[in-house]
């Protein structure tokens, strides 16, 4: 449904260096219409050259064109490298989602957000104090 949100970066030798998958979702009436990062992946050899930032930038531009209010994503709280990268790209930790990642040891996620140009007052970036359970973030 959202082919424009599926992007890949190729190397000079035509190998995939990284990709991003996303979508738009939420209700516009309550200013919840937003771009969502479903997956972002960069292969080890292609890290630290700005591929993730490039892909995120593209996704944000698409979300802007889709008239979204913000872009959001979920990331493991333990993935400090990724959390720091998103912070450096202007995202904030909007809230914590308890036991979002299910596995042998369930892990919490940060719901991180960045406002799109439509959200002039950056209302979408006012963090929530209390953590939520996964059913509260289901689209």
């Amino acid at each position: 449904r959202w082919p424009e949100y599926f992007l890949a970066v190729e190397s000079c030798t035509d190998e995939i260096m990284g990709y991003i998958m996303g979508k738009s979702e939420g209700l516009a009436e309550v200013e919840e219409w937003h771009g969502h990062v479903t997956a972002l992946s960069v292969r080890p050899e292609s890290r630290r050259i700005g591929i993730a930032a490039l892909l995120m930038d593209e996704l944000e531009k698409i979300s802007d064109k889709q008239k979204c209010f913000f872009v959001d994503l979920f990331v493991r709280v333990s993935n400090v490298t990724a959390v720091n990268m998103y912070l450096s790209l202007g995202y904030i930790v909007y809230r914590t989602v308890l036991e979002y990642y299910v596995g042998d040891d369930n892990e919490n996620a940060y719901d991180m957000r960045k406002a799109c140009t439509r959200d002039k007052e950056k209302k979408s970036m006012i963090p929530q104090k209390d953590p939520v359970w996964p059913d509260a973030v289901a689209p």
Partner: protein, 984 residues
């Protein structure tokens, strides 16, 4: 449940347990329950119908396709308009026979009225879209448009014309009819109300491009058509570049790319396009129409391009400068292309620096990035003296006269980034390998390089001791390159024992970096190389491959499980793969239909092409036939068993003709192991091509073998009371003769193939099974057995004398095979799994011969052949079966089966246990018989790796070998029992 009868709840309550039984895999129970519902006296018509369908689903899931189709046809042959029943049939036919779906809906459309008719017509369109009947989907879309008047329906009709054009074999018809019609329909809608969504505009652009009307498309894109809304295209800029390129509008393309590159100068794809357009403008001596000094003027000289690049480099002078790799690469690309343009005479003023200097500069700026090696290789060939460059690069690794990495490991410097230092070191090491500098070294020097790399890896693990298990260690690449070089060395010296050691090194490295996929794949390959499938399978499972990776990486398992005697695992691996291909195709179709729903027309053709690629995948057909072969040869304990396996797929599917084989597509990622050697990379491509060809020939081999068996088994099934001996013998003779001819032809094709004698890289595509088949003479053994059977069925004066010699020769070949691959042989000091593959082929070939004999005997016994009749009709070909010699043949095969069973029992019960109880991996120790001797020079590495992992590794390998031998023994016993039960 929406149900017109008003009995929805009752029906749902009664049918639900049947579907629950199906979901739980209790197909037999589901069939029984459905039967009870069908035979219920107080019947509801809908309940009976849904019970028939549920029964069909259960039959289909249990592999009874024809029975399931027959069951569901009891409902589909009627005119059904009940949505619930139709939906149930659609679900069944999706997998069983998609072509039936439109037929059901056509009848429903004809019978329905009002909104129901609109609904069924909509479904009918999607049913045609599912089966790719573009003509009918176009007609249906127009009918639907007349009914519902929706624009989206109209676009379906337009796009159906595009599909007809795209996939028509008559390109003239496409150009003159389908595409103009599609465009006309679009224009009508534009004139009637304009285009106001991105999907509509993209569809129009697609049609204009297909009609070669690029300038019109550009007008649309640039918002110059009033009826078409502006600013709706999300990727409009990229599309414009594509269109300019397509239209060969180089000046405009160049100017557009300049604007783009000012923002994204690391986008190498577009930078190359910019340079392509530049050199085209130079080629045609392009000049601007007037003295336009606008910033958007294209660059049409090398100097202008260099100025642009210098400007980009200057832009990057700030703190972020180091991140812009594109302009640096572009300088080298211009220099390379300019050199070609001026036929080798470089124009100094263009890029005065030598490649040596440019690459050194590049390394200094980006050597700490993981991508540096790959990017430098693009221009490394331009360097006149690679050694000189490498030594210059190595100088940059020194800090106060010492290697930065040494200082780092020894803890003498903290003022550097660990990853940067490691990346710079490994970049140079890989460049050396790329340039072939390691290739020219002596054995000892090569060994030293490997030791050094693996040594650094070991020491470097301390640097990354705080890394998470999901992160790779800083020095993982050192280990990978070191092991890669060691493997090359092992291949050079043909010392298979080294592999055991390399496995231990990698196992240790993997413990420290459990997420490293390269290590895991390398271990899978190496374990399979020593014949140990189980440990490879366990590691493969940790990769957790999914979706399309079954097609690209599944071969790592499917090419080894069966070959190494793990038949149960092979079956489960094949089933997992088959499931992917089934579900993958179904998902593709569902996604395609979703794309219609959302108007993403460009994705529809992608899904159609993707589905075809899956359908024609070599892996798909390999899995299908290998599983089929496995069932027939390994699981059949009687002719009836074999026949039941041979019933599906249908006979016509067994025969793989040349056209079919030529259409196969190799989706396997046979270059998955990272390679840093230029020569090996070239060789790898050749190997990939050869592997594909040989795999296709192997499929043909299996197909020929299965065809013969299928034919023989069917002849044995002749209804009693109507035996026609002459026809049966004649048919057997025809099948055997066909088999012999085809096998001979195939044998010659394989012998002539250059890949057969080629020395394959250890990490490339899996070595074809043909080498072992040909070396062991297994295809010839089958051929001889077929030939003997033919001579026994239709004896002649010329062949009578020879047949006994040939029977002896067959048995001798099997006995020789046992001796040659005998694990108990005193001369075999090391069991390294090389024995397994020929052993599997030996048992399999013998099993096949037993099946052929059993089938022929069954066919013969379906009519009376007496001494009297032989005397009476002895002169007639086909009725003079040489029973005495046939018995001799059976007895001889029986005795070699017995020998194989005894041999395998001995291996299982004594040899493997004893051998492994004494086995250890060690250096050239005196008086230690059961050792896998490893070169003394590896001792330093060895001491660091074996202690912690040796016993685990040896246990895993031993268990794997034992499982292989046990499974081989089971198959051999099964066939031994079958041949014992045959009597004439």
């Amino acid at each position: 449940m929406a149900n017109k009868s008003g009995h929805g709840d009752i029906i749902e309550r009664k049918i639900r347990p049947v579907y629950e039984a199906i979901d739980n895999g209790n197909y037999k129970k589901a069939v029984q329950m459905a039967d009870r519902l069908i035979s219920n006296k107080q019947k509801l018509a809908q309940l009976i119908q849904i019970a028939h369908i549920a029964k069909g689903v259960a039959l289909f899931r249990s592999g009874k396709l024809s029975d399931s189709l027959e069951e569901v046809s009891k409902v589909s042959s009627e005119i059904v308009t009940d949505e619930f029943i139709i939906q149930a049939m659609v679900v069944f036919y999706k997998d069983a026979k998609p072509d039936e779906i439109p037929k059901i809906l056509e009848k429903a459309v004809a019978a329905a009225k009002g909104s129901e008719r609109v609904d069924f017509t909509n479904k009918l369109f999607l049913a045609y879209a599912r089966t790719e009947d573009y003509k009918k989907q176009q007609q249906t879309a127009m009918n639907l448009y007349k009914l519902d008047g929706k624009k989206s329906t109209y676009w379906w009709a337009v796009f159906s014309n595009v599909l007809q054009a795209n996939y028509s074999t008559d390109k003239n018809l496409s150009k003159k009819m389908f595409l103009p019609l599609a465009e006309k329909m679009m224009i009508k809608m534009i004139n009637d109300g304009g285009l106001h969504t991105e999907a509509e505009i993209l569809l129009y652009l697609m049609i204009l491009r297909m009609n070669d009307k690029i300038s019109e498309a550009l007008k649309v894109l640039r918002g110059q058509v009033p009826e078409i809304e502006k600013g709706l295209l999300i990727h409009g800029d990229a599309l414009e570049i594509e269109l300019l390129q397509e239209a060969n509008l180089y000046a405009e393309l160049n100017a557009s790319l300049k604007i783009y590159l000012r923002e994204r100068c690391d986008d190498w794809h577009n930078f190359k396009l910019y340079l392509d357009s530049l050199f085209h403008l130079i080629d045609v001596k392009w000049q601007p129409a007037d003295d336009n000094t606008d910033v958007n003027t294209p660059d049409y000289t090398v100097d202008m391009a260099m100025e642009f690049i210098r400007h980009l480099l200057k832009d990057g002078d700030g703190p972020e400068a180091k991140f812009y790799r594109g302009p640096h690469l572009a300088q080298m690309e211009i220099k390379k292309r300019h050199k070609l343009l001026t036929q080798g005479e470089e124009v100094q003023s263009c890029v005065p620096e030598t490649f040596n200097t440019l690459l050194k500069d590049y390394f200094e700026k980006f050597g700490h990035k993981g991508c540096c090696f790959q990017e430098m290789t693009m221009y490394f060939d331009q360097v006149e003296d690679p050694k000189e460059l490498i030594s210059k690069l190595e100088e940059t690794l020194l800090v106060d006269g010492s290697l930065a990495i040494d200082l780092l490991i020894e803890g003498k410097t903290a003022d550097v980034k660990i990853a940067d230092v490691c990346n710079r070191y490994i970049c140079i090491a890989t460049l050396k390998n790329y340039a072939g500098l390691y290739r020219d070294l002596s054995f000892d020097e090569k060994l030293k390089v490997s030791q050094q790399l693996i040594g650094y890896h070991g020491k470097g693990l301390n640097l990354g001791k705080d890394l998470k298990s999901t992160e790779l260690q800083y020095t993982d690449s050192f280990c990978l390159l070191g092991c890669h070089l060691l493997m090359n060395l092992s291949n050079e010296t043909n010392n298979g024992n080294d592999i055991w050691h390399i496995i231990l090194i990698l196992e240790s490295a993997l413990k420290a970096s459990p997420s490293n996929p390269q290590m895991r794949i390398m271990l899978i390959i190496l374990y399979c190389k020593i014949g140990a499938f189980d440990p490879a399978h366990k590691i493969f499972n940790t990769l957790a491959i999914k979706y399309i990776q079954h097609d690209t990486l599944g071969y790592l398992m499917t090419s080894n499980a069966h070959r190494l005697g793990h038949f149960k695992s092979a079956r489960s691996v094949y089933e997992a793969e088959e499931k992917f291909f089934l579900v993958g195709r179904r998902d593709c179709v569902d996604q395609k239909l979703q794309a219609y729903k959302y108007g993403n027309f460009s994705k529809i053709t992608e899904f159609i092409d993707f589905e075809k690629r899956l359908q024609n995948s070599l892996q798909h057909w390999t899995v299908k036939y290998y599983k089929f072969y496995l069932d027939v040869i390994h699981k059949s304990s009687s002719c009836e068993d074999a026949l039941s396996f041979l019933k599906y797929p249908p006979r016509e599917d067994i025969s793989l003709n040349e056209n079919f084989l030529n259409q196969l597509i190799d989706n396997r990622d046979v270059k998955v192991i990272r390679n840093w050697d230029k020569l090996e990379a070239n060789q790898l491509q050749t190997e990939a091509d050869w592997s594909m060809q040989l795999e296709a020939l192997h499929l043909k081999y299996i197909s020929i073998n299965l065809q013969l068996l299928a034919h023989i088994m069917e002849l044995g099934q002749v209804e009693s009371g109507t035996p026609d001996p002459q026809t049966i013998i004649s048919n057997l003779s025809t099948s055997l003769t066909k088999f012999i001819d085809e096998s001979k032809h195939l044998h010659q094709r394989v012998l002539d193939h250059p890949g057969l004698k080629h020395s394959w890289t250890w990490y490339g595509p899996p070595q074809t099974r043909w080498k072992c088949i040909i070396d062991g003479g297994f295809d010839q053994l089958l051929l001889k057995a077929a030939s003997v059977t033919l001579q026994l069925l239709c004896p002649s004066e010329e062949t009578k004398e020879n047949v006994q010699i040939e029977i002896t020769a067959i048995c001798q070949a099997v006995t020789d095979g046992l001796v040659n691959h005998n694990l108990c042989n005193e001369n075999v000091k090391c069991f390294n799994g090389h024995n397994l593959e020929p052993y599997v082929l030996l048992v399999e070939t013998l099993g096949y011969i037993v099946m052929v004999i059993a089938g022929c005997v069954k066919a013969i016994k379906s009519f009376p052949v007496t001494k009297k009749s032989r005397k009476k009709k002895g002169g007639q070909q086909g009725l003079s079966v040489d029973l005495e010699k046939f018995k001799l043949f059976i007895n001889s095969v029986q005795s070699v089966c017995d020998a194989v069973v005894q041999n395998l029992t001995a291996i299982k019960d004594t040899f493997l246990v004893q051998y492994f109880s004494r086995l250890r991996i060690a250096f050239n120790l005196q008086n230690e018989e059961q050792t896998l001797e490893i070169n003394n020079d590896l001792s330093d590495l060895w001491l660091k790796t074996y202690k912690s992992n040796e016993s685990d590794m040896l246990k895993n390998v031993r268990d794997s070998y034992q499982a292989s031998v046990q499974e081989l023994l089971s198959v051999a016993k099964l066939k031994f029992n079958l041949i014992k039960s045959i009597s004439l």
